[in-house]
């Protein structure tokens, strides 16, 4: 009996000690995918995110003096595994980074109950921009509808009127996400929209989809690709001799490694992006000093020069800034998920702040509010020059007057379909 009493006392002491340990770090898990069919595009993003947090922990001792525990939970981009990861990590987490539109849609209804912010930078459900309805979800700094709007804006209304636009997309919630906006713009401008789905099993064998493109002769191809679909589409485009300068991909279809497969043949291919690698940025020097030189990175020199690694850095910066703002507001470094929500709602990433962070030119300035959870940063058009992506446009902005009413309408529909769904007044 005495033996058990000692054990119980030891366990209680351990629990107290354990609580102390947890309190000295902020647990910000990442629902990563370094395995499976989408690993090729996931790895550089995850590496960028991880390296940014590693750098903050090494250089500044974390954020506000508290270390960030940036643990990864592997999902393989599987929605089921993603939900398992969410359930496993939510107990201590101050944030959920679901890393898939499918997983985001699954955890979204739980967000009001669990009250943990969902941070889905540049992905997820576009109406999450409406912070009154989606109080716990953030797709900062730009949504898929922003991307679609900017791509169409880049092509130009005068070039679209009366034309045919093929919309080559992954047959998955991610791929279908921009369809409402694309359909509205097709009706408004007067172009024919031709959706062409690519099944998960057909990602590397898209000959049927490209035969359709050859037959239909679209004037432009807009690609909503991810993972192995991108390389498959670009190689088929080269094979079909579709003019590369008439093909534009979403920001997840602008991965250097995908284009390196076709090299020079991919010249002219474009991708919209809310981030851009600036290799001589002061941030990169810190990453080199505190992460690479210390042997703490999982990345490599070639990958670190690419668009996706750089985007991973930007995504972690958004979270880190949210934590910092929350700490200042709450008056404590050990913030709660609710504090972080406030932080993410009050981001103000100005040019001056980007300069302080050593990230000038890596992401456009943006600002979030209680009602605006996206920030609508805008983006740049990047073009593949045969070796790497180059910026070929000034900052593009999505059409707020078209997107905002659609966001409000679909957010209201979502809330109505999921009643009782709390809606904030954002006063």
């Amino acid at each position: 009996m005495r033996h058990f009493t000692r054990l119980a006392a030891l366990a209680a002491f351990g629990a107290v000690l354990g609580t102390g340990t947890v309190a000295q770090e902020l647990y910000a898990p990442n629902l990563a995918y370094r395995t499976g069919p989408f690993a090729a595009t996931g790895i550089p993003l995850m590496n960028g995110q991880r390296d940014y947090m590693t750098m903050l922990n090494a250089r500044d001792g974390g954020i506000g003096g508290v270390a960030i525990n940036f643990e990864e939970c592997e999902t393989g981009y599987s929605t089921e595994k993603g939900v398992e990861c969410y359930e496993k990590t939510k107990g201590q987490a101050i944030v959920t980074q679901p890393w898939s539109t499918g997983i985001t849609l699954q955890v979204l209804p739980k967000s009001n109950v669990d009250q943990i912010p969902i941070l889905a930078p540049g992905y997820g459900f576009s109406p999450m921009a409406d912070g009154k309805v989606f109080q716990w979800a953030f797709n900062t700094p730009a949504s898929y509808w922003d991307a679609a709007s900017m791509m169409l804006e880049y092509i130009g209304e005068e070039n679209l009127k009366g034309k045919k636009v093929a919309f080559l997309h992954l047959d998955h919630p991610f791929g279908k996400e921009p369809l409402p906006l694309m359909e509205k713009k097709a009706a408004d401008i007067g172009f024919e929209l031709l959706p062409i789905p690519v099944g998960l099993k057909e990602m590397q064998n898209q000959s049927a989809q490209w035969l359709q493109i050859r037959r239909e002769r679209p004037d432009y191809v807009i690609m909503w690709g991810w993972g192995a679909m991108n390389a498959g589409a670009i190689t088929e485009a080269v094979k079909t001799r579709f003019p590369m300068d008439k093909m534009i991909g979403v920001w997840w279809a602008g991965h250097d490694a995908d284009l390196k497969i076709v090299g020079e043949d991919g010249k002219g291919y474009k991708s919209i992006s809310f981030s851009y690698p600036v290799l001589d940025a002061p941030l990169m020097a810190d990453i080199q000093k505190y992460v690479v030189d210390e042997g703490k990175t999982l990345s490599n020199e070639e990958e670190m020069q690419g668009v996706f690694y750089s985007r991973g850095l930007v995504i972690s910066m958004i979270l880190a800034e949210g934590i910092k703002v929350a700490q200042e507001h709450a008056g404590t470094a050990e913030i709660s998920p609710s504090d972080l929500r406030w932080g993410l709602e009050n981001l103000n990433i100005t040019e001056a702040r980007l300069a302080e962070l050593g990230m000038t030119g890596m992401v456009p300035p943006f600002q979030t509010t209680c009602a605006n959870h996206t920030g609508h940063s805008g983006g740049w058009m990047l073009e593949w020059d045969g070796e790497k992506f180059q910026k070929v446009s000034d900052l593009l902005q999505a059409e707020a007057e078209v997107i905002a009413p659609l966001e409000a309408q679909m957010a209201a529909e979502y809330a109505a379909a999921n009643e009782p769904w709390p809606v904030s007044a954002c006063n």
Binding site: A40, P195, S207, A208, L211, A228, T240
Partner: protein
């Protein structure tokens, strides 16, 4: 609607015969690669009654090993030989560590063991090679990367040279396999083991040797398939899902029939492409390739449960 189903597709075919030829060619290329993967399944099933779930990951593992060795500075063709060596070691290891202790166990146990092999190879491959997309060493292997253009009936027919090579190599591999199975002692031993395991063992055919051999042949097939598919869109773990396309081929052709695997693969490759282009896209919005082959195989199974070329199994109870 009736016009769209029964008239319009055929009008389209006659109106643009060059496009029809292109569709058939793309179907042939896919079909022969499906047939190759299916052959890997059939060989192992014939000799051991094991449905090898690991065939898909073997394609990825073989292709990654080849590219990985080349990236380490090993010359391309030496990398091919070394990759074959790795696939042989894999075959020996699977036989010794996984299959031999399970001899005599129900088929489902052996099937589950191949799922274990799949998970192991995924982990091993990711630890050694990482999950990044890699460029197949097409040019280093001497595979031509240009295209041949024809203008039949004033139209356009583009044949990629790497696809022509893939069809040629796959065709030669199929012929070589058929010759091996029908004309050599070892090949006959594999067939004997498939036909009657007890009788085969009683005349001195070594189960262990045959299992190593068929798994090694499946490894060779995996390497050829990996090179062919990898040359089209890079080498990544996404290649694994292509193996699932072989399942309807097996249902259609029969799990035990080599002829069935070849004809089934070609049939599915071409029919799914024709259906997608002329019926699926105009009527159903496309992406019918994900289910067409399975529906076709199910229809065949309704009338011939053993598949088109499978042997009818009669068991006394």
């Amino acid at each position: 609607m009736l016009n769209q189903i029964f008239v319009a597709p055929f009008v389209d075919m006659f109106a643009a015969p060059d496009f029809l030829l292109q569709v058939l060619w793309e179907g042939l290329v896919s079909g022969i690669l499906y047939a190759l993967i299916a052959l890997g399944f059939v060989l192992i099933f014939r000799s051991s009654r094991i449905f090898n779930f690991a065939q898909g990951i073997m394609v990825v593992f073989a292709a990654l090993t080849l590219v990985g060795l080349y990236e380490m500075g090993v010359p391309a063709w030496v990398s091919v030989v070394l990759t074959l060596g790795v696939m042989f070691i894999l075959a020996v290891s699977i036989e010794k560590i996984v299959l031999r202790p399970l001899v005599g166990q129900p088929d489902i146990i052996l099937f589950m063991a191949t799922i274990g092999i799949t998970l192991f190879l995924i982990g091993l491959g990711e630890i050694i090679f990482g999950g990044e997309n890699k460029v197949m060493i097409t040019e280093a292997l001497g595979i031509p990367t240009g295209s041949v253009v024809f203008e039949p009936w004033g139209g356009l027919l583009i044949l990629e040279e790497k696809d022509i090579t893939a069809v040629g190599v796959a065709g030669m591999l199929v012929v070589a396999l058929l010759l091996f199975l029908n004309k050599t002692r070892m090949g006959r031993a594999i067939r004997a083991l498939g036909d009657d395991p007890q009788a085969a063992l009683s005349v001195g055919i070594s189960l262990q040797t045959i299992w190593v051999l068929v798994w090694f042949i499946a490894g060779i097939i995996a390497l050829v398939t990996g090179v062919a598919w990898g040359a089209r869109a890079g080498v990544s773990f996404a290649l694994e899902v292509i193996a699932y396309k072989a399942l309807p081929v097996l249902m259609l052709g029969g799990l035990e029939s080599i002829t069935g695997a070849i004809i089934g693969g070609l049939m599915i490759g071409m029919l799914e492409k024709l259906f997608e282009i002329y019926w699926g896209q105009p009527i159903l919005g496309g992406n019918t390739e994900t289910w067409f082959a399975f529906v076709l195989a199910l229809i065949v199974l309704l009338f011939r449960p053993q598949g088109l070329f499978g042997e009818k199994i009669i068991e006394r109870v």
